[in-house]
């Protein structure tokens, strides 16, 4: 079996090496991927068509927004798939103590205090990354991961029960689904106003600015949708993996 694996690896490696010899040179500005019609269109027309200076976000959230919607769905599936497989619903889930004093029943004082100071800053920066995604590097995925990480940090420092009171399981699932509803629902709104699915220009009548600005605003909306899903799923995956689906004390 090992020998078979070795032979397979050698063959695939040889194929990959053979192909690289045929590629355009590293950094070649004249290669098809850099100079092709599609790339030139993105580089030259993005600012005119969408009023968005960040080309990457424009490609992600508008030109190929349909892909990004499904990428968000992939994250959603990863989350509810892990819940569906791991989560054990039963009586063994002990009742967590309620009230603010329960926040202080676990962890070290210094860690907890630092965490209480850092979490708001992380979340504020995450919101900036989401809101500014179409102007500077950033966007829904990056900001969502930061927001999710802030919840995970809180759970690590103050214990899962405390974090669960802020982001319970049911709430996480609702937020995750709401994110995709925002994204796909925005696309359906375009459809209802007479355009194709995700054709943001058809939202022009209900958004401020002209048709191109409608694209820019819509990118912000769908990025917010992405951030909702990513935040909630990050935390749901952490809480299920760290407690083997029992959602008790955790790490």
């Amino acid at each position: 079996m090992k020998l078979f694996g070795f032979i397979a690896v050698i063959i695939v490696g040889a194929l990959l090496l053979a192909a690289t010899g045929d590629f355009p040179a590293w950094g070649d500005a004249g290669s098809p991927a850099s100079q092709g019609q599609v790339s030139s269109f993105y580089i030259e027309q993005t600012i005119n068509e969408t009023k968005v200076p960040n080309m990457v976000t424009a490609v992600l959230a508008d030109f190929r927004g349909y892909d990004t919607m499904f990428e968000t769905v992939v994250i959603f599936i990863a989350g509810i798939g892990i819940i569906a497989v791991l989560r054990t619903f039963g009586d063994q889930a002990s009742k967590a103590p309620d009230g603010p004093e329960a926040d202080n029943d676990s962890g070290d004082l210094i860690v907890r205090t630092t965490c209480h100071m850092v979490v708001p800053l992380i979340q504020l920066f995450a919101l900036y990354v989401i809101a500014h995604g179409h102007h500077s590097p950033g966007g829904g995925f990056q900001g969502g991961v930061m927001l999710g990480a802030s919840y995970i940090l809180f759970a690590l420092a103050c214990g899962l029960p405390a974090a669960k009171r802020r982001m319970g399981e049911r709430r996480a699932i609702i937020i995750a689904a709401a994110g995709i509803i925002i994204y796909a629902g925005w696309g359906v709104a375009c459809l209802l106003l007479g355009g194709n699915f995700l054709d943001y220009t058809s939202l022009d009548p209900i958004l401020p600015g002209d048709e191109q600005m409608a694209r820019s605003h819509s990118m912000l909306v769908v990025e917010i949708g992405v951030a909702f899903t990513v935040t909630a799923i990050m935390f749901a995956i952490y809480s299920n993996l760290s407690t083997r689906g029992r959602l008790e004390k955790g790490l």
């Binding site: 499904f70 599936i77 497989v85």
Partner: protein
């Protein structure tokens, strides 16, 4: 409104899945109703789509996501493209999904316990993924949707019994390798052509005369390897039997007919539209003859492995491996009739696999036994279930007027036209093996003697309404619908073949 049908087919189950997750795990009937309504609407749109394709002059519908018009002849956004083949396969996916939701009604509670809502959500998302794969005209979008179908199926399979978790893990490893190969191939194509739209890649390769470049050939090989892994083409089939037979009954009966068939569709799409028959079938490549021989081996090995099984579901999964061999072989016969046979077999194999898996699930539920011996004397106690099973079995063997006969007919006539007698022999051999397998069961069911007909165990999970076969209507009806579709696809084979023939691009 009508121009949005292809997008609406996808959006219905997508919103259905989100709604089901919002409903939560307590409201089971509401979840079921939501899924049912969404898939019914989706089916209606899919049928509307077929009518539109028939009515259109060009024979295909194009739908630009985001409304991005092409620039200088290249698509800048993502485009859906629905020709007759895609319209039929999409209709097949959503109809099988719809009928399976009816089937799931009484079983899902006992098989999924507290996770009913997750089941309905994941199942609808799987349908979204499959429909998207079939309709998209973008090589990377195809990958994203393959990811969606893979993730949902890993989760759905892992929700089965204890052994399901390990088989799902095997499937994750194999599936991820397959998807990575596909992605690598698409990456190579993008480096060489600078676009991701399937039609545009094809036209850039044509105009730039990239055919002789080794990287294009390697991209083709990588994409094919990836797709073969996902469709369980022998010897890459290792993950399939365990995954499908240990999965929950309601999941297996849905995934077995659809997943491999949709991947065969992707293979045809890549061969005939992305690379084009001229390149794929050109005599300069060593692969043509080699792959037909591989598919002959797949057919024979799948048949033998099925013959050796004593577990009904395992046996059916090995038959799928053999059927995949049929379709791959047909597609590589380098001949219109073979390709037509392969396309028609996608539809007919889905119908008959669905029928057999439903019947097997009912028998396993009623007898509590998943061995072939469970069928002893079943015609006496479960006549309707066994009628459905017999129709599916006759189609597997290939007797008229079932669809299995006609797909074999097209495949064999294609093979005879190009003079590939070994493929013909393999098909006939596999039919004989199927006859042995199924007549063994049918004989046992007709003439086998059992002691105490009344002592069949009753369903452990309460008391669903029990009828003639002591099976709820909600399970019997889907089985009879599936059996009916086996006959309908067979009887109307002329019509379907005519439609499909129009979709085949000139070689």
């Amino acid at each position: 409104m009508t121009e949005h049908f292809s997008a609406l087919i996808l959006l219905m189950p997508l919103f259905g899945a989100l709604l089901v997750t919002l409903l939560g795990r307590e409201r089971r009937t509401a979840c079921w109703l939501t899924a049912l309504v969404c898939l019914a609407a989706s089916s209606a749109f899919a049928i509307g789509n077929i009518c539109q394709v028939l009515a259109s002059k060009s024979g295909d519908l194009r739908y630009r996501m985001g409304g991005w018009q092409e620039s200088a002849g290249y698509e800048v956004g993502i485009e859906l493209r629905v020709d007759m083949l895609a319209a039929l396969v999409v209709a097949m996916v959503v109809l099988v999904g719809f009928v399976n939701i009816i089937f799931a009604k009484t079983r899902v509670g006992s098989e999924m316990k507290d996770k009913v809502a997750f089941f309905y959500a994941l199942k609808q998302l799987l349908i979204v993924g499959l429909c998207g794969i079939v309709m998209t005209n973008d090589a990377f979008n195809l990958y994203v949707l393959i990811e969606i179908t893979s993730l949902t199926s890993y989760a759905l399979i892992a929700m089965g019994n204890r052994r399901a978790a390990l088989s799902s893990f095997n499937y994750i490893i194999m599936g991820t390798i397959g998807a990575s190969f596909y992605l690598l191939g698409v990456g190579y194509l993008y480096i060489k052509t600078g676009t991701l739209n399937i039609d545009d890649i094809s036209s850039v390769m044509q105009s730039g005369d990239l055919w002789a470049h080794p990287s294009i050939m390697i991209a083709f090989v990588l994409i094919m390897l990836g797709i073969w892994t996902k469709m369980a083409f022998f010897p890459l089939h290792g993950w399939l039997p365990n995954a499908y037979s240990y999965a929950p009954g309601v999941v297996g009966s849905f995934m077995a007919p659809l997943m491999t068939k949709v991947m065969v569709y992707v293979m045809l799409r890549v061969m005939l539209w992305l690379f084009g028959g001229e390149y794929v079938y050109s005599s300069g490549h060593i692969w043509g003859e080699l792959i037909i021989w591989m598919s002959i081996i797949a057919i024979i090995a799948g048949s033998f492995l099925a013959l050796a099984c004593t577990d009904i579901k395992k046996m059916l999964t090995y038959l799928i491996v053999a059927e995949v061999g049929y379709m791959v072989g047909g597609a590589w016969l380098m001949d219109g009739a073979g390709i037509l046979g392969s396309m028609y077999h996608i539809l007919s194999d889905a119908a008959m696999t669905f029928c057999l898996f439903l019947a097997a699930s009912i028998v396993i539920l009623r007898t509590g036994d998943h061995r072939l011996t469970a069928f002893t004397g079943l015609f006496r106690s479960m006549p309707l279930t066994m009628t459905g099973f017999t129709v599916g079995a006759l189609s597997m063997i290939g007797l008229p007027p079932t669809c299995g006969f006609f797909s074999k007919w097209y495949l064999i006539s294609g093979a005879i036209e190009v003079g590939h007698w070994s493929y013909v022999a393999a098909l006939l051999f596999s039919s004989l093996v199927n006859a042995v397998i199924f007549f063994r069961i049918i004989e046992r069911a007709y003439f086998g003697r059992i002691e105490g007909v009344e002592s069949l165990p009753v369903d452990a999970d309460g008391s669903p309404p029990v009828v003639l076969d002591r099976v709820p209507y909600s399970m019997l009806l889907p089985l009879l619908m599936a059996a009916g579709s086996v006959l309908l696809v067979g009887i109307y084979n002329e019509v379907l073949a005519g439609w499909l023939r129009a979709a085949i691009p000139s070689l």
